[in-house]
Amino acid sequence: MIIAERKPLAEIIEMVQDCKKILVLACRGCVTVCSAGGEREAEILASLIRLGLKKAGKSAEVSDASLVRQCDKEYINGIDQFKDQYDAIVSTACGVGVNFIANLRPDDNVFPALNTTFFGGSSEQGIWTEQCAGCGDCVLHLTGGLCPVARCAKSLMNGPCGGSVDGRCEIDAEVNCIWQMIYDRMGRLQRQEELFASAPICDWSTAGHGGPRKQVREDLTV
């Protein structure tokens, strides 16, 4: 899922300091699961915005609501029910949600409440780790299911590098060297000899270096 975290309050309050009616709009998708932008977090943020504006000597009507998701047109249409109730939306969705509101509501002010950080999973309660970089050319079948693009600091395709020491990465002793993990795992799977094959120079055009990406499924379009 997409992982995100709330922006510093000062940054959010500065965005909305001149607004009179603010709608803090939660997303019930990924950001609910990672406790960054669901209904509970939107209610908390609305309260904090009210307190922050009051402290700054300003006042605004701040309400909160939620959409099932903010990354689909039909759900964004749900904003219609709040018509005339806001002059700015503070979205607690990931960056996709903010973009979708901006795309589909050309005359509405929309501000991001979160910093969208990575694609990850919850390794234990309250802890999320990056697992995938969305590079568009998956090599997990070659690496035992462990991603060198997202989980190697250098995104090496032929690791490990010389900075791997005792299974740890040189950037931080707390960070596992993913290439050591790949090597060990391929050994357990009796596939270690596959790692002798050199990966070719990587074509990063699928990773966003070729501009914004788009996917079309003709069988699903109407």
Binding site: L9, I44, S47, L48, R50, L51, K55
Partner: protein, 135 residues
């Protein structure tokens, strides 16, 4: 100029059980500060961050939570969870440029102990020093 702070206490059902004996008269006899408004909850682990923030929105100058000892909670981890939520509120107060100590967590044993009154007085004195909340 003297200032009597408006303080809201959210207390664990068990910790405050004896404090409510005789319809609260015992507390009065022990000089429990009148400016502290107590709300009893089934377990402090049930408290949400928003409940504490709403108390500030409602005009509280200080908010504190009293739960079971961290290693002896009736509901195992309730008071530990409450402490984390209080810490989140303290952090948010800091972000808003306020004194974090306007929100505090206390762990106290069950029953009517002198500490229950002591922490109420401690909060009253400390918040009085800090002055009124700007909210």
């Amino acid at each position: 100029m003297s200032f009597t702070p408006d303080i809201r206490l959210f207390s664990c059902h068990y910790t405050s059980q004896q404090s409510c004996a005789d319809q609260g008269h015992k507390l009065q006899q022990l000089d429990f500060p009148e400016n502290v408004t107590m709300t009893r909850v089934v377990c402090t682990g049930k408290l949400e961050e928003i409940t504490l923030l709403k108390a500030f929105e409602d005009g509280a100058d200080g908010v504190y939570v009293v739960g079971c000892p961290a290693d002896g909670c009736h509901n195992v981890k309730g008071s530990q969870r409450a402490a984390k939520r209080v810490e989140a509120v303290r952090s948010a107060l800091g972000e808003l440029g306020l004194e974090k100590d306007r929100a505090k967590m206390f762990f106290l044993p069950r029953g009517l102990h002198p500490e229950f009154v002591d922490v109420a007085q401690e909060m009253t004195d400390h918040i009085a020093e800090l002055g009124p909340s700007p909210f």
